[in-house]
Amino acid sequence: MCLAIPSKIVKIENHMATIDVDGVKREASLLLLDEPKVGDYVIVHAGFAIHKIDEADALESLKLLREAVSISFEKKP
């Protein structure tokens, strides 16, 4: 089962992070990530952080999604 909710790193100690998953604190290994830091949003699978979300990229893709939806919607005959 994939944990769909991104988690926020709140503490790092010896390659292990304490993560906040929508208010719930859990542990996650950072062995599969490069340069994680406190405050990063990460995707966690089976107790391992597997991806660090780039805030700027995420905002950009959300903006594009909103634009795509409204532009093509308005173009509809």
């Binding site: 994939c2 599969l32 699978h45 991806h51 979300i53 990229d57």
Partner: protein, 363 residues
Amino acid sequence: MPIKHLEEYRDPAIARKIVEQITFAGQKPIRLMEVCGTHTMSIFKHGIRGLLPETISLLSGQGCPVCVTAQNEINSFIRLSRFDDVIITTFGDLIKVPGADSSLEKERADGRDIRIVYSTFDALKVAQKNPLKKVVFLGVGFETTAPTIAASIRSAVEMKLDNYFVFCAHKLLPPALAFLMEAKGTKIDGFILPGHVSVIIGIKAYLPFFEHYQTPCVIAGFEPVDILQAVNMLVVQIKTNQPKLSNAYQRAVTFNGNQKAQNIMNDVFETTDARWRGIGTIPQSGLKIRDEFAICDASKMFEINMTASSDPKGCACGEILTGQKIPTDCLLYRKACTPETPIGPCMVSSEGTCAAFYRYHPM
């Protein structure tokens, strides 16, 4: 305020607009398949089938780790649990799956030491705390779980833990997509590709498949807007006859994927032919532990005597996993096979198509 990467993808206003676009474009019958158990659950949970026009069929493929684990592997897990000095560690869903004559749940009730863990690091802790026991982790799943298990094997070697073992039954997704395209009686117009498998393997891993079959493919996240957006992109690709390999989960999936995870996986595992439940053997679709890590390989360190075993009689899991049937087509569904008394793994796992149908589909 920073975004949480969550509410934005549950926005009903965006969802409604995408649904209208899909309804406008999706007038011809289209069969789309998702191959991720969490997509299966999300589609049911958010009622996505009910939002789409009747012309669009959403099929659930081979995405649930437990559902694709072969019967002979389940039998091996049960045999392993019967060794007096063994502690089995596993993710939860696996313990209910019936083997030829038992299940891990029944073995646990008989006093075998079988523990459900949250991650492989919990399994390593069990091994550290029980030096006189042999701790075996049951490695099922896809490219998402495989690197976490590879990391545990490498950590066990570094920690000089000589009582930690893995039974590796991992499967790889891209070879299964190719199998589905070749399977008789299966017709799929486009794939909703999995989110977290793609986080690890990256868009590049699907290129050989896409270039060969030219089937529309979109990688999707798990929120309702993510899935609707992927369906919308697929419908447009199909309608305009312009197949693409696209990414609708850009906040998580990159072209190259997680290189660190790929490296650790390649260090510890090599590809091998693998047997998929209800489907048979797909060449080079599984992982096995490399010889240099053989001391951690449960299939080599224990005399398990893996015997061939057929799937339960009457169970349509194989046809369901390949999109040829839906659960209500199976004679056992809701009769002999229920979540309380599952016969096939698609009913055992909460991510299985049959269990999801049972929970969300009206009688």
